[in-house]
Amino acid sequence: MRGKWSYEKKQKLVGFSFILPWIIGFGVFTAFPLLYCLYMALNKVNFVTDHLEMSFLGFANFRRALYEDAEIPNKLMQTFQQSLLIVPLIVVFALIMALMLNSKFKGRSFYRAVFFLPVMLTCGNLIATLTSQGQGSIDALQSGTAAALVAGIGGTLGETLQVVLDNFLVILWYSGVQMLLLIAGMQSINPSTYEAARIDGAGQWEILWTITLPGLMPFLFICVIYTIVDQFTASFNPILEVITHHSINISTGYGYASAIAWLYFLVILLVLLVVILIFRKSLGLAVNRKEKRA
């Protein structure tokens, strides 16, 4: 009996045993709620004292969200555009900061501790409370001389700077996690590679482009994924507000809210698939190599 099991099959079984707990957890805590949510999206859901009453609607909820409710496609598009703009800005800002925090200088651990603060403070409405009391933003940047200066630059550079200024608060407070991830990623690059490059006479700029950035690719991937999901699932997101509003609204109901939620997942998934395509080199190659070997 044992002989029939090829080495390859046995390896697959061992691999499966590693992933099995996650599959169970996924099934219970994610797949079931998600599929039930889809089922409700195809129904009109009514709350009757202690149970739910469902009447099958087909895709009516989806059609309504897409064609009749002008608000939904608009807000989906708005979120999509906003994330397209803000995600690269956050990741680039985090990357620049991480590069700085990773270079050797006195007092580095103090600065690193300070740059961890945004991670700790992004709880519920804490940031909102602080910024509403005029903290953590730079008014000088958004009004007065700096703004006038930027407006005077004009062209693409001016426009980019304007966008950065407009979203400065978000960039500043939602990039802490990415910074830490990138710093951790930089530690995983072999120091001897740097040494070899320096001996060969490579400048700082060349080292950055040929060693640091390629080595950081896997971590940039995590950063981009994290930033996208963070932006899409932040509680201030307009779509989530709509969903929450509809799920407690009796006239539209939970079924309609579930339909919007599913449309929303599809948009996020689409964005993530684009990201995977961009990063397929740092992701896909490793998968392929393993498959060939097995």
Binding site: Q11, G15, F18, S103, S109, V114, M120, L126, N190, A261
Partner: protein, 316 residues
Amino acid sequence: MKKLPFPSLRLSRESLGPQSAWMTVLRKLPLYIILTAFALLYLEPVLYMVSMSFKSATDITDTTAKWIPRQPTLTSVRYAFDAMNVWPVFLDDRSLWDNLMRSNLFVSLLTTFLPALIQVYTCAIAGYAFARLNFPCKRLLFVLLLMSYIVPPQTVFMPLTWVFRALGVINSPMSFILPALFGTGLKGSLFIIIYMQFFKKLPAQLEEAAYIDGASTYKVFVKVMLPLAKPAKITVFLFSMVWHWNETYLTGLFYTRIGTLATALNAIKLPENDYSMTIMAVKMAAALIFVLPMLVIYLFTQKNFTESIERTGIVE
């Protein structure tokens, strides 16, 4: 100096002779200026929080006492401490456990450290599988992994609550521990991806050597790969800890009879007909109490978080 087989013609900066200390400081000056500017932006709200917490009602309107209160008072902090139920008076007719569960601080600590510790290991197992092992439907499962990450709990809260109710873990830290045991849980997918990318970067020779010595996959994982993943473990623990501590939505769903500091912070209000305090000061005092445990833990362990990553730096 090592003798190189092919000496390069270009001279590196170091070979031009020792630089004076002044030169290095000057070269780093732009770095210090930029980092300090941003550090101040991050520090300002914290300092504001501290100063506001100890301000009396008259200090708040006093423009000359912007940072240092003229008449510092503990009124706001004391009130916030009681209102947030940080450490309530123990009742004699209840068991020790029931009394402890009435403390928001205790519940917060339980909901933070146990799931975080568990996730460090369970997510490593799944991450290792995605990075190094072969199993059926790997790509599909990876897409599902991403998918489970993008589902905001707000959108599935109803079926999610049913699941937890059916499992009987409502109103207990188990509602966070149980998903963590399966490698899912709060942002579990992200942690799995972090581990996956870390394990992928480790050179394959390490495992191959162990396999040649006859070790099983399980043994290789526990004895070779997991210890090498220290930077990933530190990162995951740190994030998991902070995110569990800060969680308000899921705790709001699962905890109806018990509470955490995060939910208490969001709910804080002024007592009615009491004009000795202002809501701003009370909110800031509550925020200070809320952030303090994490801040203290971070300050005491930050060397571990920032520097040891370097020492254990993965070598080929």
